[in-house]
Amino acid sequence: MPILDHLWIILALPLAGAAINGLFGKRWPQSAVNSVAVGSVTLAFLAVAELVREFTLLAPDQIPYVDRYFTWMVAGPFKVDFSLQVDQLTVVMLLTVSFVGMLIHIYSTGYMAHEGGYYRFFSYLNLFMFFMLTLVMAANLIVMFVGWEGVGLCSYLLIGFWFLKKSAADAGKKAFITTRIGDFGFTVGVLLVFATFGSIDFGTIFKAVAANTISEVTLTTICVLLFTGAIGKSAQLPLYVWLPDAMEGPTPVSALIHAATMVTAGVYMVARMNPLFSRAPIAMLVVAIVGAVTAFYSATIGLVQTDIKKVLAYSTVSQLGYMFLACGVGSYAAGIFHLMTHAFFKGLLFLAAGSVIHAMGGEQDMMKMGGLRSKIPVTYWTMFIATLAIAGIPGFSGFFSKDEILEAAKSGPNANLILWLLGVAGAALTSFYMFRLVFLTFFGKSRYDEHHVHVHESPKNMTIPLVILALLSIFGGWFAAPKLIGGIDYFERFLAPVFSMYAPPMAEPAHVLAESAANPGMELLKALTGVPVIVAVLGLLVAWWFYIKNPNAPKRLAQSVHSLYLLLLNKYYVDEIYAALFVRPLLWISTNVLWHGIDEGVIDGVVNGSARVARASGGQLRGLQSGNTRSYASWVLIGAIGFSVLLIALYVKVVH
């Protein structure tokens, strides 16, 4: 049974898992819930593996392989099929999502073992997998939107998993509402796509775009609108504010949804829509700028945070910025590559952080940790490996992907040196704060009371996924390694058909020619290739100096630039600004205009008013039945007069 023709199985497996656990899991023992949840995702991964095998056997003209299932909606010219497709990009995404998802499911069986609502957690997690896989395999914008919204829903459910805790419930709401703003732009973008192309099917759209008949203005508008959805979903400026708060959710949720998969949906969408973006340079520039600025901005906030998960959250926002930077300068493959490696090392970072928190009995403040290196060795080593990866230390996966991005920003077809500088600065900061995190947590003296906290290593179902992800963080980037020594990047080659099938013709082949010419500018640029590595090592050294050599140095520095420190610590007060600018006025309008004014005044007014009118007129008419005979007589008289008038009038009309 070829999976390629039955792609729906991959979706049905986690959905079934979610349904079974959701409906029946409440009274089952944890082992039963585990087998359903982990089993469904594992089966889905195996299905994906089989899918990949079949995919390699396809001929190039069969790609993308589309499964059309049924006509979902028809409304005049608007026709939406439920179709799924597979091409190289889908393969990469499927592998990442299903494999990392599977590992995190296994991890969660350990992490959530002592939590209430166990079955509910896994039901939501499976549901999330279903939606994410739908998003990735969608063959048209509407099915993708189903997945898009679905993962947003699951994110809300999982962030607010401990919904009795107010901060968690609020965080869930914040996430949903903030991404909603982006989703609105996305929806308008989809509408515009339909208005322009008459279809929302990827194949149809891309073929139409390749014919070069659509105006650039239209394309730019569409791309910018779609990108606003990505800004929300992938937590870029200015809609990133929900992601740090989303750390209220359980750590596996942060790992899966807010590091490895859901937040990458925006990047995937931009990569998928590359034919449109490539023909709208302004939109690309917007994407690149937003990405680069976010990368730098978020890294600055991460410098001073003390909650281990918050540091990782800001780091995620920053790394997502890098992915968008890559797409924005035209190197979609680099963006997707970084997406994949980021899933490995960021997923690992979160899971390891979860392991630390588990070991510390729930403590998340790094200032209360320290010296854990010897006590939780597996966690320490895996986290250290992940940190090396994210910092871009050569040899690890993160180095290859980040390096490719910065290289594209520097010397690629849409190179922009300012953005490159931002990227490099961000990389320096990334290295610094990530090593800061490791040093604060695992090195130095223990800053906690050893009698109260019993530090213990996590059980095997938590540590094994850590090890697997660590291995991937090391070796996962090696497809691209040959490029360094003049060979080809296998990853890029694999994805090339996706990005070249509908790509516009190269505007400036001269650029490529110029590279081979030996002019001083080019030489300088070439020399700058190694800069990311240098700043990464620099970050490591500075962090070492601040947190191992001179533990008092951070405090002194904070005192000396106290206001700047406070600004960063308070996340540039963005939440407060948003609250004042948007939340409070909206609340005011909702309360006074919509609630009191319209709902109470108009709608209730109409209903109550009509009742009042009925009552009043009834009261008035009551006077007719006064019991007063004479008034009755008068009414009879009036009636008689009226009647006789009528008769005479009729008579006159008849006669004349």
Binding site: R622, Q625, S626, G627, N628, T629, R630, A633, S634, L637
Partner: protein, 102 residues
């Protein structure tokens, strides 16, 4: 031979009817109201007789006959009711009879 145009009798009938209506509406004594009804009936009788004369038919007169008979019967019953009312209520003002009030 009646040299008076029939229409004059009709006008007189109308005037009497109108006065009867006025009395009906404005008087407060029950018996007076009854009497105004009788006045109205009389006015109608006059009209009937006038029309009988005008069309040279006897049907109008027969009708007048019946009107008188029925009016008599009605007067008898009505006055009996009035007597009953008077026995119960010591007053014959129509305004006091407001038991039909809602």
């Amino acid at each position: 031979m009646s040299v008076i145009p029939v229409s004059w009798y009709l006008v007189l009938s109308a005037i009497l009817f109108g006065l009867g209506v006025v009395a009906f509406v404005f008087k407060r004594n029950v018996i007076t109201i009854f009497m105004s009804i009788e006045l109205m009936l009389n006015a109608v009788n006059l009209a009937f007789v006038a029309f009988a004369r005008a069309h040279n038919q006897l049907d109008g007169l027969v009708f007048v006959f019946f009107v008188i008979v029925v009016a008599a019967a009605e007067a008898a019953v009505g006055l009996a009711i009035v007597i009953m009312l008077a026995q119960h209520r010591q007053s014959l003002s129509v305004e006091r009879e407001n038991l039909l009030k809602f």
